[in-house]
Symmetry: C2
Subunit: 221 residues, 2 copies
């Protein structure tokens, strides 16, 4: 029997790492793809490699430094500060990388079509809707339609966590035995996670809500 | 009065060059963007630079070599032959670069958002509908919706030639005084246009229909 093959948008963070484990547990053959776009938290690429090594799967790494140059944000520019406050729209808006998710999805579709794979999976989740326009259901519906139509054969886009929050994802990951010590979330470029930026706060809150200790090491304040 | 600013997907070919002239004639400030994706006909980039030089406008050049590697086609791989026949679906299908236009449009949107520009213009035309799924009106409608939703501010996508054929475009270009000697269409990688591949044939037919001589030099057969 031919197993289902799926291209997975992978970032080395909590959400897409959980998704990789979940699809693997469902018997899907996963093709993770990750992007370097000049992000100061390029440590996420190292985390992604570690997870793929642990799972015994390949990782497609794509250099898109042009994106950081064309469309600067706090994630790529030293001169723009990553906010050290909670995960809300006002505080996180300068971490929006202009149209990043469409760029990533379009490359994932190119990769899928080139390999004859008919499905793409993407771990956008409910906690991002308020912050990032390119994580909202209506944006994703439009992209689903565009990806379905872009080629001679239809390609599907699945977004299983679209109405989950971060704690739901961590809860599922704990059941699946995800090794969260190999994930990276912090938007600062430090050696250790800062524990204070929006993504660190959101991550810590999710682990706290599930009642499990976050296994990564944080900077002492 | 602030003039309208528009990002234009530019290839150095007939269609997008005509579009640049047309928008310029309408008083729009154009921001052309072009991509290198490993295409063997990279001479189109040289043509694009010449046109921009002539028009006195800048050109944003983006390196996307990763695209050719991720999604090979006859346009990027020496081992896949560019068909030397007419411009019809069967003959041109291996010149489809998987999802190329979505990748280009997504970068154009990133560029527009980064610059605070609210409009993107793209020269897809009717002659490409039968051949390329990512030139069809239904694909473009989905992309229009996705681009509208991808950011905090709405960005529009305009496709003025969507129901024109190539001869309509050349006719308009001749009225506008487009310098077609600075355009490049041939998909082969030669120093001169081959005159025999699908795009050369389509180009020559369009000039013949309009009754104007194509000013570029072709290989002698």
């Amino acid at each position: 029997m031919v197993k289902n093959r799926v291209v997975v948008l992978f970032s080395g963070g909590i959400d897409s790492t959980t998704l990789l484990y979940q699809l693997g547990a469902e018997g899907v053959v996963v093709y993770p793809i990750i992007f370097f776009y000049g992000q100061r938290h390029s440590k996420e690429l190292l985390a992604a490699r570690e997870t793929c090594k642990k799972l015994g799967i390949g990782l497609e790494e794509v250099n898109l430094e042009a994106l950081g140059r064309l469309a600067p944000s706090a994630l790529t520019e030293e001169g723009i500060e990553v906010p050290r406050v909670g995960y809300s729209e006002g505080s996180m808006r300068n971490t929006y990388v202009p149209n990043r998710n469409m760029v990533f999805l379009s490359f994932a579709a190119s990769y899928a079509i080139g390999k004859g794979i008919r499905s793409i999976c993407y771990a956008a989740h409910g906690g991002d809707h308020a912050l990032y326009p390119d994580c909202r259901p209506e944006f994703i519906s439009a992209m689903e339609e565009a990806i379905r139509l872009c080629s001679y054969d239809e390609v599907g886009l699945e977004v299983p966590y679209i109405y989950w929050n971060k704690a739901d994802i961590v809860r599922r990951g704990v059941e699946l035995g995800v090794d969260y010590s190999l994930t990276w979330s912090c938007y600062q470029g430090g050696d250790l996670a800062c524990g204070k930026c929006g993504t660190c706060v959101e991550r810590l809150e999710a682990f706290a809500e599930v009642g499990v200790k976050d296994p990564i090491v944080y900077e002492r304040s």
